[in-house]
């Protein structure tokens, strides 16, 4: 499955519909759906929020892989930004020091198996793999 989306958080409903169709048609385990939706949202919103110098659509690709799914988001004509290099989030900080900023990419790192970043010819591509683990059952 691949589909492009406009650079707006208002596209999230359409993105969820697309991931839902993928899960339904591919037979991928629903137990990992929330983690996949969350990772897609966080990466998509990050691109929309911080890659401001482009008006290109963002490409979402999903492919069934052994025991799960491989998902890529590609942003065009942008500067490089490797989400795995995002600032550390202290989840043990007291309330007055907690801010939601940066939490999204941290959650991605916790909820998927692996994240790979590639940048070439001003194309920024983030790929993650999510598989079913015992805890997901």
């Amino acid at each position: 499955m691949e589909q492009s989306f406009k650079r707006s958080v208002n596209e999230l409903q359409a993105i969820v519909a697309a991931t839902g169709r993928f899960f339904s048609h591919s037979g991928t385990a629903e137990s990992i759906r929330m983690a996949v939706d969350l990772a897609v949202e966080e990466l998509f919103v990050n691109m929309v929020t911080y890659n401001l110098g482009t008006d290109h659509d963002i490409l979402l690709q999903m492919q069934a892989s052994p025991g799960g799914v491989t998902v890529s988001l590609t942003d065009y004509d942008v500067e490089p930004f490797d989400p795995s290099l995002a600032p550390h989030v202290d989840i043990n900080a007291p309330l007055d020091q907690r801010e939601p900023n940066g939490l999204g990419l941290y959650l991605v790192s916790k909820m998927v198996d692996s994240v790979h970043y590639a940048y070439r010819d001003r194309e920024s591509k983030v790929t993650f793999v999510k598989t079913v683990r015992r805890a997901d059952d």
Partner: protein
């Protein structure tokens, strides 16, 4: 989409998906809520960091008055998000056994 409204005993019921596209609407509602604030998440299907930000901001506002938010009927999948984010240490959470 997120539905947010008062339920029984002035509990605030959230139903649906609390994502980045719905955060502003949820925040506008919760900004009007006075303590004590109990959020029933039994029908909440999904929450992202944007939704966590809404709860965090509301909790901080209410803690300034002496009592933060309490989350009830939190299903295991949503509770995982709270645990991964460390929010489980900030909020009072009552979980639900239902997935």
């Amino acid at each position: 989409m997120i539905e947010i409204a008062y339920g029984n005993d002035r509990q605030v019921v959230l139903r649906g998906r609390l994502d980045a596209s719905q955060a502003e609407r949820a925040q506008a509602f919760l900004d009007q809520v006075a303590p004590p604030c109990v959020l029933d998440l039994g029908a909440l299907e999904y929450i992202s960091s944007a939704g966590l930000g809404v709860l965090l901001k509301t909790h901080k506002r209410l803690m300034a008055t002496g009592s933060g938010i309490q989350l009830i009927n939190v299903n295991p999948h949503i509770n995982d998000i709270f645990r991964y984010s460390g929010m489980d240490k900030l909020f009072s959470i009552v979980t639900s056994p239902h997935g």
